[in-house]
Subunit: 259 residues, 2 copies
């Protein structure tokens, strides 16, 4: 060990910069998710198991599941703190939680995530304990609760309809070389227009990432709107007319703004 142990919980500051906010002057949910992912990576990086360290071993982290539950979205110009900690470590997966607060301590929301460590070449899971002599396990924080429900399974009925397609572009792809997790959220939220967003407030997002998509892939979005107060979305990637493969599966929970 070159360095002393750091605290198990890390705190990272982000801004609700006005141009990361939507028409209503509140932070975009996709940006809040991106802040969580950045907090996760800063936390891992500082503790010796971030993507830069893993890259040296031919490995990387991939996000498997993410839950974001927000009471309220931070207003434009405000600053937020994201606390993050590792809740548990399994053989191939690790769970990490998030708490989002304002600078005056107000609780905006929470997040939960599950990450897999994979071999960058084969894209297959590798054992997490083999990094840094199992250092991650020493950072597990078991005292701090995350008071939101875990990710719940999402299932779309076969009647779900195709609501749109996009081609994954240069700006969709991140340092991992695949379509960025927060960009899927941006594309999913774009399935509804501003009039819909004016009338509905999204309170929770559950999303499972099941296969990687790359620049040039076609992403098709299938939507189930048969459940009151929720929308389920399946994103299926294909390339040059190949069969569609599910890249991610999401559920949005929302309430309707009063008339």
């Amino acid at each position: 060990m070159k360095e002393a142990m750091l605290s198990r919980i890390g705190r990272y500051a982000f801004g609700a910069e006005p141009f990361h906010c939507d028409f209503s002057s509140r932070m975009l949910l996709s940006h809040a998710a991106n802040c969580m992912l950045n907090a996760a990576e800063f936390h891992s990086d500082e503790r010796g198991y971030g993507m830069t360290e893993l890259r040296r071993m031919g490995r990387t982290w991939v996000l498997s599941r993410l839950v974001v539950e927000m009471n309220d979205m931070p207003p434009a110009y405000s600053r937020i703190n994201i606390d993050t900690w590792v809740e548990g470590v399994m053989r191939f997966f690790t769970s990490r939680d998030f708490s989002v607060t304002g600078t005056e301590g107000q609780q905006y929301g929470y997040g939960r995530s599950i990450w897999a460590m994979i071999d960058s070449h084969t894209r297959q899971p590798v054992e997490i304990a083999t990094v840094g002599e199992g250092i991650i396990a020493r950072y597990v924080e078991s005292d701090r609760p995350c008071p939101i429900k875990p990710f719940a399974r999402i299932k779309l009925p076969p009647t779900a309809e195709r609501a749109g397609t996009v081609t994954a572009q240069y700006s969709d792809v991140d340092v991992n070389g695949h379509v960025n997790s927060a960009k899927y959220i941006e594309h999913i939220l774009d399935l509804w227009d501003i009039r819909w967003h004016e009338k509905h407030r999204i309170t929770r997002l559950d999303i499972a990432y099941t296969a990687e998509a790359h620049s040039g892939d076609t992403l098709a979005f299938y939507v189930d709107d048969t459940v009151e107060g929720a929308r389920c979305v399946s994103v299926r990637r294909s390339r040059d007319g190949s069969e569609e493969v599910e890249a991610c599966l999401a559920r949005l929970t929302f309430w309707t703004v009063g008339n």
Copy 2:
């Protein structure tokens, strides 16, 4: 005056968070531009002529022209400082410059911008001097040079070809209710795929915003690639088959990465 004068030059910190970086682990140019716009707004807001203050008067700022010239893009995980100051104030326009440095003082690049103050309802220019008894003029910084060339006129030949279209969505629209300036840059850079971006490094972007586009508008991208080391792009908005109106006009200057 409620408060003492602040410094003419403001400094704002931003992160090259890994998920605001591209496949090459360098900050996206669209994100660098977004940081500049946020720095501009923080600077104006603190000095009493930001969008929140203008909104009370039924006005807002709109970006008319932006130049971003970068020697290098900040690498993932690094932090940057953006200095910004008002270079001059005219009747309806103000010019604002930017300097982007790393935390160890290395110069990444510079920016120049021209902003108009408009009436939020009529969208017509209004006189800048009528805000806060002409306070902006008191913040003009004439001693600090911005060593990049001003915006140069961009002209596309009639042979420019349509290279793509997108529909402006919820996530494209910012607190001003129109398509965000940095989002145009993102869409423009997405006209070329990752292979192109692997082989070319963009060193300068000039962009003029000529008409506002809104959610639901179709944005058509016309490209001129007849000049070596540059691409000119005209973005034309339309709606429900209406005639196309130029929303912005950009020039990318780049060099080709050695084989």
